[in-house]
Symmetry: C2
Subunit: 233 residues, 2 copies
DNA sequence: GCGTGTGAATTAATTCACAGCC
DNA sequence: GGCTGTGAATTAATTCACACGC
């Protein structure tokens, strides 16, 4: 279930504050969900709570960590060292959670060889070897959009089955390969949509009275926009 | 509906290639969804397709853009100019979609004053004034986790009702304020979960036979991890 | 004939509400 | 008395499948 990481974070915060035990109501509030939902989610892991008391914070942290596979190390490779790749390479939050940046790669020979976050950026040519030698299990794609599918194909061919994609493209992958995407502009567009709704409701009734214009009058499109690389820092 | 931006991107790609018309089947494939779902989604916008033919690409681009509110400009402020804020400031994909980076802000006086992506970073003290003067409608929070809620509160007090949060925290906001979050480590944890499932299935039967250890034996926790700022580029 | 638009059917997710246990 | 765990009820999302228009 995709909410376990959220619970884990809330629990870790409680753990740090030394809170020994927590009720579903409290934990749900901290994670921003309904308490019934939280209890149902946790019940899939097993009966780790105590009726009349709540959940033991430390124990639950362990159980969720184990369920999520965070008790082992996950070597991660970042492909595409532009703005975003650079930022992620320096991201301090990996190590504390079992994720270790094992390699940085870039197709540009001017970038390969540079030292970033204490690591030397490798060239794409070495991808297959790096994946094999360092047992990389998760690939993070931070290339421009047009390069993403090609990189993805190579990652899959090299045996990687989990990909985190920051490029604004829908990646095609074979069965058995998991892809998650993080897409800035989609998030902004969703916010814009709601924002527009709010101001529309303030002013007029239901929908803005914009009459459909003659076909062929395209407004600003969404070109897909090629990620950070566009203007390297 | 949260899938409209996805359709818009696929349509824009088609538009660039000069494709005049597209069927629900084709567009659905390009966006990575089921064709019935796509038709149902689009039908909420109105009847913009032609039976037996499909959808006019340009016209549909316009309609979705309008629905998403992309026919107007959305000034965005980025708060917290660490690694990630820096990367986003340089992100070229904003402008082409109606999103304009109107201001960069940071609480550190050493950072304020710096020029980044052609803009001078302003100090947090000026937040309220900037929001007012530049009519900022969307705030992007890229501060460390502990600072996020405070920044959020100030944004809300300044009148902002749409927030994109990159800090690993659940933000508390009043009714009417929209928050979307982008969370690196949650995505990675979800991937790790699936990855673990795969290798577990390869080896044993259903679940790994790890017996519940004595309570109090916490594994690696999730500290929340404070975002990019941790190690500035 | 082809492909949209949509009611109906199915499936999944969420919430309610309460029995059972501490 | 308080709080978990969970069947039942509700609500939402997805998919099916086909009538209708081009």
């Amino acid at each position: 279930m995709a909410r376990l990481p959220l619970y884990l974070r809330a629990l870790s915060a409680l753990s740090e504050r030394g809170v020994p035990t927590v009720s579903s109501e409290e934990l749900a509030a901290a994670a921003g969900v309904n308490s019934a939902k939280l209890r149902k989610d946790l019940s899939y892991l097993g009966s780790y709570g105590t009726r009349g008391v709540g959940y033991d914070v430390e124990y639950l942290v362990y159980q969720i960590s184990r369920e999520l596979g965070l008790t082992q190390d996950w070597p991660v490779a970042i492909i595409g060292i532009g703005n975003l790749g650079h930022a992620l390479a320096n991201y301090g939050g990996f190590a504390s959670r079992g994720f270790r940046v094992a390699a940085l790669l870039d197709a540009d020979r001017a970038v390969a060889g540079q030292r970033i976050a204490g690591m030397v950026v490798r060239h794409m040519d070495d991808l297959e070897q790096i994946v094999r030698d360092d047992r990389v299990s998760i690939g993070v794609i931070t290339t421009p959009a047009p390069a993403a599918q090609g990189v993805c194909d190579r990652l899959v061919a090299a045996g990687i089955t989990s990909i985190l994609n920051f490029a604004p493209t829908v990646l095609a992958v074979p069965e058995g390969v998991d892809v998650r995407k993080v897409d800035l502009s989609i998030e902004l567009q969703i916010l814009a949509f709601h924002e527009q709704r709010k101001s529309a409701t303030d002013a007029g009734p239901t929908l803005p009275p914009t009459a459909p214009p003659p076909a062929g009058t395209a407004a600003r499109g969404d070109r897909g926009g090629d990620l950070p690389e566009v203007m390297p820092a």
